[in-house]
């Protein structure tokens, strides 16, 4: 089933982390397996990159105590690659042993560096960008927000997801949001099923894009990345997806300063929208919006094939 949510403040920052946590916790019943956030803030240092990675999955625990050694080796490898590509690490934090946040500067080919890091199958870059912080892990919103210190995050906008695993495993790599590798600050969350996934995936792989999971939602991130890299606007990409991607879906895309939504031709997956002059909130269910806006407000369901894009 899955739950998705998004919020964008126009022209100001707010406690986006706390707001997203409240919304996603209200959607827990739609997907208790994992929770993910992509939250955005205006960077104080535009030359900095924020990179979030994970270096272990649930399956890695099968090695027992050896997992700690494995994690340390993978982190050391990432550090070495960053150094090799000339990246300067300004800070490195670990919210959990396997989940790290780097702040770094880099003047070279960032996509090549990211590709190099991901050559190790156990290491995945969750996000890279100047304003994006992408966090996803097993558990509900309060678990994840508590572990990663998200409840006080100040930012302009964000999207999030509560996942009920249906077509792929309960693990972090199948959790949402997905980063649109290797394009900075682009993330996607999705509720639905994509029925031409393998066909589209092969097309994207032939064009050189990489997939980290077997989750159909990852296709939307790759598809969006492909379009944006070819100069297509976010709104046009969302619009094209309605005819090019088969299935039932509602998905949200966030960029550094935009938030967009698209609904399939059958309007089979829900989304409730609230829109005011300074705030737009959306979620699979009204109960999530009411978690942050208890006062009486007007909300509505977007119709089939509806595409919207909002500016921060």
């Amino acid at each position: 089933m899955c739950g998705i949510a998004g919020i964008i403040h126009r022209g100001k920052s707010s406690n986006v982390g706390g707001e997203m946590t409240a919304m996603l916790q209200a959607l827990k019943h739609r997907g208790p397996d994992s929770t993910g956030y992509a939250v955005y803030a205006t960077s104080k240092n535009p030359e900095d990159y924020i990179m979030r990675i994970k270096v272990a999955e649930a399956e890695d625990r099968a090695v027992g105590h050896g997992v700690h050694k494995l994690i340390a080796e993978r982190i050391a490898r990432v550090d070495a690659i960053l150094k090799e590509h000339g990246a300067k690490v300004k800070s490195k934090e670990a919210a959990r042993e396997y989940a790290l946040r780097y702040v770094l500067t880099h003047d070279g080919d960032t996509a090549a560096m990211a590709t190099h890091i991901e050559e190790d199958k156990g290491t995945e870059i969750l996000s890279m960008g100047n304003g994006l912080e992408l966090i996803k892990d097993l558990g509900d919103a309060s678990d994840v927000a508590g572990a990663y210190g998200l409840n006080d995050f100040q930012g302009t906008h964000g999207i999030g997801h509560t996942r009920m695993a249906t077509e792929s495993d309960v693990d972090i790599k199948s959790a949402h949001p997905y980063w649109a590798f290797p394009y900075n600050d682009i993330s996607v969350v999705h509720n639905g099923q994509i029925t031409n996934y393998w066909l589209m995936r092969r097309q994207m792989e032939k064009k050189g894009h990489r997939f980290q999971s077997n989750c159909d939602s990852e296709l939307l991130a790759v598809y969006t990345a492909h379009n944006l890299s070819n100069g297509v606007s976010l709104e046009e990409s969302l619009r094209r997806s309605i005819s090019e991607i088969d299935g039932v879906f509602t998905y949200l895309v966030a960029t550094k300063d935009q938030l967009g939504m698209a609904k399939d031709t059958m309007a089979a997956k829900p989304l409730v929208l609230y829109e005011s002059d300074d705030l737009i909130a959306m979620a699979s269910e009204e109960v999530a919006i009411r978690a942050i806006l208890p006062q009486e407000i007007d909300t509505y369901d977007p119709y089939d094939e509806e595409v919207r894009v909002w500016q921060a």
């Binding site: 031709t265 309007a267 009204e286 109960v287 009486e296 509505y300 369901d301 119709y303 089939d304």
Partner: protein, 289 residues
């Protein structure tokens, strides 16, 4: 009783009695449930177990910190105490509020509800001051639901009776599989509204999305605005004087009467090239009588 006395009816067989009462004017196909009309029985508007409520006995309930289950249990408890008017405050999008109420009640929900709000009801009058999520009023048998703001998709799915009113706009698949009753929408409706509609009437004052009335068996849809496209086997029909009178009465009753009247409404019915069942239920014929 069409000139037939009770004494004469009592002497008849079941078949003769039904025919004498004018309930069988056409050949039934056997696909419908058959309910015999009993002239000795008085009308039963309530279930035998329904609590005896007093509409003047009113209470307000703050549902902010209650689960849906607790809210619904509270409603039943209050009805058993004789409360006939219950006001629910701060529902905050909770799902399944007010479901399964099978007797008379004035239920006022101040705020918005989530999915499956006031579904499976048979009798109460419900007013919701906010918005409702998907499947509001699903399977309702009788009563009235009035939603002051917008509604989500599958509004009035499979309803069998009563009036379901949304003053704002509704989502997609409105009245999907509806089997009776009336759905009234003040604004627009989305795609596939009236999908597989079997009976009843749907009135939309605004526009309708694509595939309106797709695969409908029967029933009638009236659209006041534009229709993006008609679905399979949905066809336009003549708007008769009877239709206009009915629309005027129904829309006036719920305060949705357009300033320009009802002459501009488009009437949509089943072409009956896809499905063609003759299955009016005897209970409906009884109403006609």
């Amino acid at each position: 009783m069409a000139g037939v006395s009770d004494a004469e009816l009592k002497k008849m067989t079941q078949e003769e009695r039904v025919t004498a009462l004018g309930m069988r004017t056409e050949q039934l196909t056997g696909k419908s449930l058959y309910i015999e009309f009993d002239p000795d029985a008085t009308e039963r508007f309530t279930y035998p177990w329904a609590p005896d409520v007093d509409f003047n006995k009113r209470i307000e309930v703050d549902t902010d910190n209650m689960t849906s289950t607790e809210v619904n249990a509270k409603i039943r408890g209050l009805m058993n105490e004789g409360y006939g008017t219950i006001v629910l405050k701060n529902p905050r999008g909770k799902h399944s509020i007010g479901v399964g109420i099978l007797s008379r009640l004035n239920l006022i929900i101040e705020g918005s509800t989530g999915y499956f709000g006031v579904g499976l009801i048979d009798g109460p009058n419900v007013r919701i001051t906010g918005r409702v999520g998907w499947s509001c009023g699903e399977n309702m048998m009788s009563g009235t639901i009035v939603v002051e703001k917008n509604a989500g998709s599958t509004f009035g799915a499979a309803i069998r009776g009563g009036d379901l009113v949304c003053r704002g706009s509704v989502g997609s698949r409105t009245g999907i599989d509806m089997k009776g009753g009336t759905i009234l929408v003040g604004g627009n409706t989305g795609a596939l509204s009236g999908f597989m509609m079997q009976r009843g009437r749907m009135v939309v004052c605004g526009n309708a999305g694509k595939n309106l009335g797709d695969s409908m068996y029967d029933g009638t849809i009236y659209i006041g605005g534009t229709i993006q496209s008609l679905g399979v086997d949905a066809v336009k029909a003549e708007l008769t004087d009877f239709d206009k009178k009915w629309l005027t009465r129904k829309l006036t009753q719920h305060g949705l009467m357009p300033e320009k009247g009802v002459d501009h409404f488009t009437k949509i019915v089943a072409g009956k090239q896809l499905w063609n069942y003759d299955n009016l239920e005897p209970t409906e014929k009884k109403i006609i009588l």
